[in-house]
């Protein structure tokens, strides 16, 4: 619904009143608005300075810390580092592997511990 002429004139009156309100803002409000604007722009500058090339003062400090960490890590590994696990297998492990792969005479191998004990007893006795 579009406002008629009467409505338009009344709306204009209201608008004039609102404009009067803008023109006659009290000094305290104007001062607060100026401060709010300055604060907003200042905050944006702070953010900009943090990330901008000229304001990246945190980069050298961060790099130094990272380098220090790497040095500590290297020294720590060097001092407490254990030898890499050996890939060499013991003969007994190979024997067991052969038994599993071949699959012949499994009973003998199942009692192998007994025969080993018997041999040991014979030697000592």
């Amino acid at each position: 619904m579009k406002p008629g002429n009467k409505d338009k004139s009344a709306v204009n009156k209201i608008i004039n009143e609102l404009n009067e309100g803008v023109e006659h803002l009290d000094a305290g409000v104007e001062r607060s608005l100026r401060q709010a604007r300055a604060h907003a722009l200042q905050q944006a500058d702070k953010r900009r300075n943090f990330f901008s090339p000229s304001g990246r003062q945190w980069v050298p400090a961060a790099s130094g810390l990272a380098a220090l960490f790497l040095v500590f890590l290297t020294v720590g590994l060097w001092l407490h580092g254990s030898a890499p696990p050996s890939l060499q297998t013991t003969p007994s492990e190979i024997d067991y592997l052969d038994i599993i792969v071949d699959g012949d005479n499994p009973d003998l191998y199942q009692d192998i511990e007994f025969y080993q004990w018997l041999a040991h007893e014979d030697q000592s006795g």
Binding site: V22, H39, A40, L41, D45
Partner: protein, 183 residues
Amino acid sequence: MTPEQTRALDRFLADVERRAYIMAHVATKSREDALDLVQDAMLTLVQRYHSRSEHEWGPLFYRVLQNKIRDWRRRTAVRNRWRGFLTRWRNDENDETDPIQQVEDKGGIGPEKQHLIDQTTKALMTALHLLPPRQQQVFLLRAWEGMSVARTAFVMQCSEGSVKTHYSRAIHALRTELREYWQ
């Protein structure tokens, strides 16, 4: 943000800040709350949208402001509910508004003109305060800010049809409320 952008933003904010304050004041009826909302809106615009082109700042700023006003209404509704509960409980009704703070600096206007302005402004502000929030917003954006239906819909985050309906209802409500002035 380049120094040119900072200057452009400063100009833009200086241009809209008073009207934004009046808009927030119509919604909140509180000087301090209105100032807080405008400051928050300025901060959000500068931090999030400074890189947008200058002609986008207007709708974006008012959109942010309207969102802040909406959030303020929600917070106030919750606070009032609690306050009402506590007031009933304590049976203690304290008026928190300081009448001296409410008195505005009149500047250099004569007493007769000031009286007329006061009367009319009071009636107008009362009528605007009485409007439902969406009607209040749409009236200020369409009639006062002179925004198009499409731009108002963007700011209010609603359809253009809703904008037209709210505006029509706002005019009808104001006509009823301001019979004496509606001539």
